[in-house]
C-alpha cells in the first residue's frame, strides 16, 4: 500500500531507535505524551515500545473522543434512539460505550433501531431512503471529524431534508491539551501531536505549548516510522534545550490547516461554553454544538433529551489515567471489575483507551520481553 508500507520499514526503525538511544542523557527519564488515540493504537499494534529505551515512557493522553463522552450524553443518545420512529446511526466506535443502561449494542439487542455507518453521508442516505422515519446521526470526534459532520449538515440543508438531525458531541483538542499542561501532578517533557486533527486546524494552535509551557510538540503521522521519527525529533529538541512546534507529517498536514474545513465548522457549529469530559471534568470552550441557523438539524432541539448529568462510578480513576498520572494497572479496579468486556470507565471503553490498550497488549510486556529476548 502506497504511503503506508514505506513508513513501516523495520530497517529504518532500527536506525531511528539507535539514534533515539544516543540522544538519551544518562540517568534522565523522559515522559512523552501522545495525545491522540490513533497514535496509541499504532504504538500497540506495531509493538513500537520494543524499539524504545527504558528511559522513555510514552504517556497516553485523552485524545480518544469516544472515551471522553460522559455517561449522561450516552444516556441522551440512547433516549434518542428509543424514540419510536428514530433510526439512530453511529460509527462503530460508539457501539460498546456504556451508559447507565448499557450501550448501543445492548439497546440493539433489545430491538432498538441502531445502525452502524462508515460516514455521515451514509446517514443522509438512510434518511433519504426512509422519509417516514427520523434519522439521527451520533456525531463524535475531534476537529478531524467535525468538518465531515459540518459538510453533511450543509448538504442536508441544501437538499431541504426534513427527517435528518445530528446529535453533536464533537470536542476540541486544544483545551484538553491545556488541561493536561495545567494539571499539577503531571510532568511531561514533550508532546507527539495529533496528526489528523492538525490537517484541519494546522500547527499554529500548538505554539502556546512551546511558548508558554516550554515543551516541544512534533505533529506526527500514524505509521510506526512516523511516530518513531517524531520521538527522535522531540529528543533532538530536548537534547538541545529547545521547544518549538515541528511538523513531521508534512506530507499530509498543511501548516495553516484546511480553510474550507474550518469555514464549514464555523458556519454550522458554535463552541459550547463548557462541556463535561468523562474523567477530566468540565472544560470550558471545549466542545461544539449545532448553530441556531441549522436548528432544524439539531437533535438536541428537535427532541427532548434527558440531559441528566451522570457521575462516573466512584471506583473509576479514569481522570488520573487520562492525565498520565496513574498507569492503568495502578487503578484499583483495573482488570478485575473493569475489563474490556465490562468497562466501568472511559479508558477501558475504546480499544485504544489507555487501559484497554494496556489490558489487550501492554500487560504482557513481561512475556513479550521474554519472547523478544529469545530472538
Amino acid at each position: 500500500m502506497r504511503f503506508v508500507d514505506e513508513f513501516r520499514d523495520a530497517e529504518m526503525a532500527r536506525a531511528l531507535a539507535a539514534k533515539i538511544v544516543a540522544l538519551c542523557e544518562p540517568g534522565r527519564e523522559y515522559k512523552l505524551m501522545e495525545v491522540c488515540g490513533g497514535h496509541t493504537h499504532t504504538i500497540y499494534k506495531h509493538g513500537l515500545e520494543d524499539y524504545l529505551p527504558q528511559q522513555i515512557t510514552l504517556v497516553h493522553g485523552p485524545g480518544c473522543p469516544v472515551c471522553v463522552i460522559p455517561m449522561g450524553r450516552v444516556d441522551d443518545a440512547m433516549a434518542l434512539a428509543s424514540e419510536p420512529d428514530v433510526i439512530m446511526t453511529s460509527f462503530g466506535d460508539m457501539m460498546r460505550v456504556p451508559g447507565s443502561n448499557g450501550s448501543f449494542f445492548d439497546a440493539k439487542a433489545r430491538g432498538t433501531d441502531i445502525r452502524m455507518v462508515y460516514s455521515p453521508l451514509d446517514s443522509l442516505k438512510i434518511a433519504r431512503q426512509n422519509p417516514d422515519r427520523r434519522v439521527v446521526f451520533m456525531a463524535i470526534g475531534f476537529e478531524t471529524t467535525a468538518p465531515s459532520t459540518a459538510m453533511t449538515l450543509l448538504r442536508a440543508a441544501a437538499d431541504g431534508l426534513a427527517n435528518f438531525s445530528v446529535f453533536c458531541n464533537h470536542v476540541t483538542i486544544i483545551p484538553a491539551i491545556k488541561a493536561i499542561l495545567d494539571s499539577p501532578d503531571l510532568r511531561l517533557d514533550g508532546f507527539i501531536g495529533p496528526g489528523h486533527v492538525s490537517t484541519v486546524i494546522g500547527c499554529r494552535p500548538y505554539e502556546f505549548v512551546a511558548r508558554d509551557y516550554g515543551k516541544p510538540v512534533v505533529v506526527a503521522g500514524f505509521e510506526p516510522l512516523d511516530i518513531l521519527q517524531s520521538i527522535y525529533l522531540l529528543m533532538v529538541q530536548l537534547a538541545q534545550g529547545r521547544a518549538t512546534v515541528e511538523n513531521q507529517y508534512s506530507r499530509v498536514v498543511p501548516w495553516e490547516g484546511n480553510g474550507v474545513a474550518l469555514g464549514a465548522i464555523a458556519q454550522t457549529m458554535a463552541l459550547r461554553p463548557y462541556f463535561e469530559w468523562r474523567g477530566l471534568g468540565f472544560i470550558s470552550q471545549s466542545a461544539l454544538r449545532v448553530r441556531e441557523e441549522y436548528a432544524a438539524f439539531d437533535a438536541e432541539r428537535l427532541f427532548a433529551v434527558p440531559g441528566v448529568r451522570v457521575a462516573d462510578p466512584k471506583a473509576c480513576q479514569c481522570g488520573e489515567v487520562l492525565k498520565g498520572v496513574l498507569k492503568p494497572w495502578e487503578c484499583k479496579v483495573f482488570g478485575t471489575a473493569c475489563t474490556p468486556e465490562t468497562p466501568i470507565g472511559t479508558c477501558m471503553v475504546s480499544p485504544e483507551g489507555a487501559c484497554a490498550a494496556y489490558y489487550n497488549y501492554g500487560r504482557f510486556a513481561r512475556q513479550r520481553l521474554a519472547v523478544v529476548s529469545e530472538s
Binding site: 503506508v4 488515540g37 509493538g47 515500545e49 445502525r115 452502524m116 471529524t145 512475556q367 513479550r368
Partner: protein
Amino acid sequence: MTAGNTGVPAREELVLERIDRVRRARPRVREDRITMSHGAGGKATQTLIEAVFLDAFRNPLLEPLEDAAALAIGGGRIAMTTDSYVVSPLFFPGGDIGDLAVNGTVNDLAVAGAEPLYLSAGFILEEGFEVADLMTIAASMQAAAQEAGVQVVTGDTKVVERGKADGCYVNTAGVGVFRHDRALGVASARPGDVILVSGPVGDHGVTIMLARGGLDLEADVRSDTAALNGLAAGLLTAAPGLRAMRDATRGGVATILNEIAAAAGVGIVAAEDDIPVRTEVRGACELLGIDPMYVASEGRLVAVVSPEDAESALAALRAHPLGQDAAIIGTVTGGPPGIVTLRTAFGGTRIVDLLVGDPLPRIC
C-alpha cells in the same frame, strides 16, 4: 521496585496475577440478553458455550469442544458435527448460503481427520421466500456436495412467519468416518511445532461485510468457501506428525491460534509478514480499521505439525489447487502458556488476544 530481570515492577506483577486469576475463574455470562457479540466466535461466544452448554451437557465427548466429536460406534470411529447457517445476504460473490453450509460441515469433519460422508440439511424458511431462490440454494448445495464427494441423505423443512428467519436459515449435521487411529486435537500441540495456513485469510468475512451494502465499498473480493477434505487428506498422508487441523471461520486466524495456545498450554509466536492476505482484503480492512487476523474465511485450514514434517506438509498443501498460497505462519513455544505473540511487520511485537465480539469498523 523491580522483580528479577524482567524489568516489571513487583507491584505491577501482583496486579497482573490478580487479573490472570479473574480470567481463569469459572466463566459466567454477565448479560441477561443475547447480543451479537455472542455469535462472533470470540470471548463472548466462548463464555456462552462454556457457561451455558458445557455446563448443562457436560460429558467427556463434548469437553474437547473441537469442531467435530469423535465417537466410538460398532467397533469403528466416526466423527459427528453440526452447524447452522444464518448468513445475510443469502447470495454473495463467490457463493451462497447453500454451498457455505455444505462446505462448512464437510470442513468440520475433514479437519477432525475424518472422511466426510453424509450430511443432513434442515431448512427454516420465511413465509414469502421465493421458491426460485430456494431451488438455487439447493442446486448450490448439490454442486458443493458432489465436489466434496458427500451426499445429503436426510433433511427437514419448517416455515415461519414473515419477519423471521431472514429468508432462509440452514442447519446441517455431518457424519464422517476415521480411516486411521490417529487422535488429532489442538491440545496435542507442543513446543517446536510449526503452524501453517492453506491460503490467504479474510476473503469471506470482507465479502460479506461489503455485500451487506451499508459501507458502499466496491472491491473484487469473493468468498473463499471451499471443501477442505482433499487438502486435509493430503496432510494426513504427508505429515505423520500432524497434531491438529482447524478451519478458520468466524473469529479468524487469531481465534484459532488462541484456541491452540489455550488448549495445549503453550505459547505461539506468529509472524505478521507471513500471514497471507490478499491486497484488496488488506485495503478494505485498512479502510475500515479492522484487523484481517480476526476476519472469517470459509475455505482455509490451519494445521499444526511436528517440525520434521513442516516442509512436507507445506509441499502437500501447495500441491493442491486450494493450497497454492499456503504458508508457514508461526511456531509453538514453551510459553508463556496461552499467549499468542505476533512479530509485527514493523519488527516489534504485540499480543494477539481473543476479541470480545466482532471486529467493528472504527473511525479513530
